[in-house]
Amino acid sequence: MAAANGAGRILAGGTDLLVQMRAGVVAPGAIVDVKRIAEMTTIVEELGGFRIGAAVSAAVIGEHERLAQAWPGVVEAVNLIGSKQVQGRASAGGNLCNASPAADSGPALVAAGAMLTIQGPKGRRDLPVEKLHAGPGRTTLEPGELIVSIVLPPRPARSGDAYLRLIPRTEMDIAVVGCGVSLAFEGDVCTSARVGLGAVAPTVLLVGDAASALIGSRLEPDAIARAAAACRAACRPIDDKRGTIAYRTKIAGVLLARATAIAAQRARSH
């Protein structure tokens, strides 16, 4: 891989790479098939959380019961990657590596506070998932580096997460806006919150101001409104045929409110 001068590409499911090769977008010097590397293809429970191999397929993630209990929002998001026939081979790691701001796994993993374990020629390092993307199609990975696994932190009692996205048709589509929310409560009071937004900026966003608006509140309408406003303020979307700037910005707030309600509901029953 390193010998290929950074032109090597990682083939996990191959779902996007083969498309890009055909379209002439990439002409990889070498293709590494990581589906055969054990560490990258398993889910293990670790320190109360989960370590998910970067090449684990969306379908396998979807079937992991304890993971789905702890991080339902993350699992929902991963299950929205591609169609059923792609699910068996598309992976969260691959989805992240494409660095599409609209990739469904991004906002949910950002909200979850996921850490990436990265292996490179110079050894291993950890990287918060929100630091991975440099822009559409670009990551901060060094040549020769690859994501080995994704670590999700332990879940306290009374915590929950959710992911919602807007697409114009029922399935098989790319988010016009995606929003992940992860919350934890003590009693009725929100004690921690993270909000991730997708498809509204060149990279997936971690919206700190939205989280601050929720933390310390009981999710009163006013707190939700402030968090939604923070989401709208964070948006720097493009205008395209899937949605105007005004629309995407507005919808970021609507999805924040709805995802927060679902996450809170899950936290109550967690």
């Binding site: 191959g14 498309v19 293709i31 098939d33 792609v86 399935e171 016009v176 045929k241």
Partner: protein, 892 residues
């Protein structure tokens, strides 16, 4: 780990295979090209369509996205493995019995996805079926019969009996379904001689540009497998094709200037690997881009550059239908409704991209190709090649969907010219982006319309002005001029009419034929305005339409008196109970205060002239009987999935008085059949069906004259046949005069549909909950096929209403260009009205296009019922709906 040459071994359908292929080769390519398993289809090569769905160790995967190396040591199942010992699997049988395969190109993928589901879950519910099949697109069926078929297997029911003998009125199973179910069917990309060269067109990346081609020697030196590069200079005849004699303006290969993005400039021919390796950047074309003319308004703007020297103002054609004095009538009206409407480019998105191969045989050229119109292809190819028509033979492949898009030439002239010059077979398969960029589209329309009515709710006047963006070349643009103004009033009696249209050239894709030829766009306008007039007069929208519906004895805008078979009122009567219930239910739902959700129900109507407008469009058929008493119907009517093979068989069987299973079909081959015109304008059942009936009646009369003579004892009058019946039918029409007066069509289809929807006012999204469709088809020759056409038309109408918008350069694939998936199509109730057409075969009219036309306006009217908001631009995407809701204060 790069190109290892070790063989990759896996198991396919129980057989161990080992292939020498680069590890990253797509499994779909290996299955098709190396192993000959062409039942696995390629619709996009990008994971978007699911046509390539196979099972890998039991689980459904896209074979186009799977590197063959990842199949090593695993179990691959394809559609060819489903039938055992010549017996269809239960799922295949269910697809057969339910009519779940139309063109059949999606069928292998659907079957494999469903097999995966049923293996995991023996009793799935509908939600599970929708989920499992959600990754496979179908453009023909509207999915509902597929869902029914899968559920019937899940329920463990005995497979429904398959009718193979029925005549007119029977739910005869598709006579050509078996190969579509087993994967044996040969579509355009599925058959080719081993020694065929491969052709790929180099296409313009610019909407408007001049260009020069540099020295090709370095390219040849670098790619020794490149046999020849063809350019405009190699076109032997006139380098201009087009449907209409006045509109032969499209070059096979552009000559120094391109007029739209995607136009073919050069054709590279060589061995497959070489052609795949050459990128456009490698080819020495220098471009001098011009300012493109985008949008019809820019085309007619003062001083706009001329696209074609012969047209001063970029207006290809103008249409006009005028009757009475609409301005005077309007001034006396009790209510007037006015609106401006806009529609977008819409892509046909058949799942089978254009494909075929050609070879030269002496001084003839034979072309195997996916097409809707073999005879027109023959004549057009002959024209550009400077040959006589009988020097060209078109052998139609099975067609994986057309919808009007395969009425124009695509690969035909390219492969014909290459095969002619090289004297070797030449094959060409478009990629999905190439298909989308180069092929024709539905005309975007800008319509300004005004209708008025008197106090009693009777329509008085209609004024309609439509500008249609006809793109770079004429194609079927002239139909806009003649078909649209005739239909501009909608299916209503309007005494005073002025309807004018223009087809305007731009540097955008040629707009051609697409299911409805401009009438769906017009229906968005008139059906919105009907609702507004009804509201203005305080009349129920359905009753308002009923009051004004064209009926027997009505006079249309062209002065035609309808003599029979005008069943719109019967359609509305059939809908009325559902209308009342669904409207009341929606209003009750909205009263419960369901948060951001609102429900609404809308109605819309349509009429559609069957066959070509004021033009002779005859069909001829022959039917022969052999000594063994078996019949062969020679039908030039192309079945593109809509079912004409079955319909022609049923009509002939009925007219002969024999079971349908006694009739064999020979279709489409221009050397073997007679011209039955195009598969378009909903004409095959009515026009070709009549020819089939007349041929069968002729043969029956001949046999009657023979009395009890033993057929086996008769001499053959042509090889294999002792008697041949012939039939010809041309619908009686007259030319339209300068004011558009005359008899443009012999008969019309009528329909009314209800759409029940739910709007999420927070997001601007619309979910269609139910469609109820009432169609007057004259006589349903095969109710199952009629339902299939209605379902498929509704799916396309739903796409037109809510999501489909083609933007050159931006949506040239099936993930940026959205068509409805299985989850988008609601339950559909069909109500068939049979107001027999005396001219039709056993009373039948057409259904292909009528099915699509009312759906979009019914959804828009439902949106208004739900929210009070009008959207006048389709598609009504979430952002447009949301903006309208905000403007009206319905959404925050």
């Amino acid at each position: 780990m790069s190109a290892a040459t070790d063989k990759i071994a896996f198991n396919v359908n129980g057989r161990d295979v080992a292939v020498a292929a680069a590890p990253q080769t797509r499994l779909a390519d290996v299955l098709r090209e190396e192993l000959g398993l062409t039942g696995t289809k390629i619709g996009c090569n990008a994971g978007d369509c699911g046509a390539c769905t196979i099972r890998l160790d039991g689980a459904q995967v896209c074979a186009c996205l799977m590197p063959v190396a990842q199949a090593a040591g695993r179990r691959v199942e394809t559609v060819e493995g489903l039938a055992r010992d010549g017996r269809l699997s239960p799922l295949q049988q269910a697809f057969h019995a339910h009519g779940a395969a139309q063109c059949g190109i999606c069928t292998p993928g659907m079957l494999m996805a469903a097999e995966d589901l049923l293996a995991r879950d023996a009793a799935p519910d509908e939600a599970a079926v929708l989920d499992a099949l959600g990754g496979v697109l179908c453009r023909c069926t509207g999915y509902r019969k597929i869902v029914d078929a899968v559920l019937s297997v899940a329920a463990g029911a005995q497979p429904a009996p398959v009718d193979v003998d029925g005549g007119v009125g029977a739910r005869l199973a598709k006579v050509d379904a078996l190969p579509k179910l087993t994967g044996a069917e040969a579509y355009g990309a599925d058959a080719w001689p081993a020694d065929a060269l491969v052709l790929r067109a180099v296409r313009s990346p610019h909407a408007a540009a001049r260009f020069t081609v540099g020295d090709l020697a370095p390219l040849h030196a670098r790619f020794p497998g490149l046999v020849r590069v063809f350019s405009a200079a190699d076109v032997p005849g006139p380098n201009a094709f087009g449907i209409y004699p006045v509109g032969k303006d499209q070059p096979v290969l552009a000559d120094g200037e391109v007029r739209y993005r995607g136009e073919a400039v050069l054709a590279l021919v060589g061995d497959g690997a070489t052609i795949a390796a050459i990128r456009d950047e490698d080819v020495p074309v220098s471009w001098a881009p011009l300012d493109p003319i985008l949008g019809a308004a820019a085309g007619v703007a003062p001083g706009a550059r001329r696209l074609h020297a012969r047209l001063e103002d970029n207006v290809l054609v103008r249409g006009r239908v005028a009757r009475g004095d609409p301005d005077a009538a309007e001034s006396a009206a009790a209510a007037v409704a006015t609106g401006r409407f806009e529609t977008s480019f819409v892509e046909h998105a058949y799942i089978e991209p254009e494909a075929g191969w050609a070879r030269r045989v002496g001084d003839r050229v034979e072309i195997f190709v996916t097409t809707q119109t073999p005879y027109m292809d023959r004549d057009e190819v002959a024209h550009v090649m400077g040959l006589k028509p009988d020097q060209v033979r078109i052998i139609p492949s099975a067609v994986g969907g057309g919808f009007g898009g395969k009425l124009d030439l695509s690969v035909q002239p390219l492969i014909a010219i290459a095969a002619w010059h090289l004297k070797r077979p030449v094959r060409c398969v478009y990629t999905r982006p190439e298909s989308m960029a180069s092929s024709t589209k539905r005309h975007p329309a800008t319509i300004a319309a005004r209708f008025s009515a008197d106090r009693d709710g009777h329509l008085l006047s209609a004024v309609f002005e439509g500008d249609f963006n006809t793109g770079a070349y004429a194609s079927w643009g002239p139909t806009v001029a003649n078909r649209v103004p005739v239909h501009a009033t909608g299916p209503y009696a309007v005494p005073h009419v002025r309807a004018t249209t223009r087809a305007i050239h731009t540097n955008e894709p040629p707009s051609g034929a697409f299911r409805g030829f401009g009438v769906p766009q017009a229906a968005v306008a008139h059906e919105t305005l009907m609702d507004e007039l009804a509201a203005g007069l305080g009349i129920d929208p359905l009753e308002f339409r009923h009051r004004n519906a064209l009926r027997v004895g009505s006079v249309t805008a062209t002065g035609q008196r309808l003599e029979a078979s005008a069943g719109l009122q019967a359609c509305l009567d059939a809908l009325r109970p559902r209308w009342r219930d669904l409207r009341a239910a929606a209003e009750a739902f909205n009263k419960t205060g369901a948060g951001a959700l609102r429900r609404g129900v809308g109605v819309a109507c349509m009429w559609y002239g069957i066959g070509n407008t004021s033009m002779s469009n005859p069909s001829e058929m022959e039917i022969g009987v052999a000594r063994d008493g078996r019949f062969t119907l020679f039908s030039g009517a192309l079945d593109i999935g809509q079912g004409s093979n079955t319909i022609m068989t049923q009509i002939a069987a009925e007219a002969l008085g024999v079971p349908a299973s006694r009739i064999r079909l020979v279709t489409g081959d221009t050397d073997l059949t007679r011209d039955a015109g195009k598969t378009s304008a909903s004409r095959q059942t009515f026009v070709s069906g009549n020819a089939a009936r007349l041929a069968a009646e002729d043969l029956r009369a001949q046999l009657a004259r023979l009395g009890n003579t033993d057929l086996a004892a008769l001499p053959e009058i042509s090889p294999g046949f002792v008697a041949i019946g012939r039939g010809r039918f041309d619908p009686p029409t007259t030319a339209l005069d300068a004011e558009g007066q005359g008899v443009p069509y012999a008969t019309y289809g009528f329909a009314a549909q209800l759409a029940a929807i739910e709007v999420d006012t927070g997001l601007g999204t619309i979910k269609v909950l139910r469609i109820v469709a009432a169609h007057d088809v004259g006589r349903a020759v095969n109710p199952q096929q009629v339902e299939g056409q209605i379902h498929g038309g509704i799916a396309q109408g739903l796409g037109l209403a809510l999501m489909e918008e083609y933007v050159p350069g931006r949506t040239e694939n099936l993930h940026d260009y959205l068509i409805p998936t299985i989850g988008d199509i609601p339950p559909i109730e069909t109500l068939l009205i049979e107001d027999a057409e005396p001219l039709g075969p056993f009373g039948a009219k057409g259904i292909g296009e009528p099915a699509l036309i009312p759906t979009a306006p019914a959804i828009l009217n439902a949106l208004h019922h739900a929210t009070g908001v009008r959207v006048r631009r389709v598609p009504a995407t979430p952002d447009r709906v949301h903006a309208a809701l905000r403007e009206a204060g319905v959404a925050p």
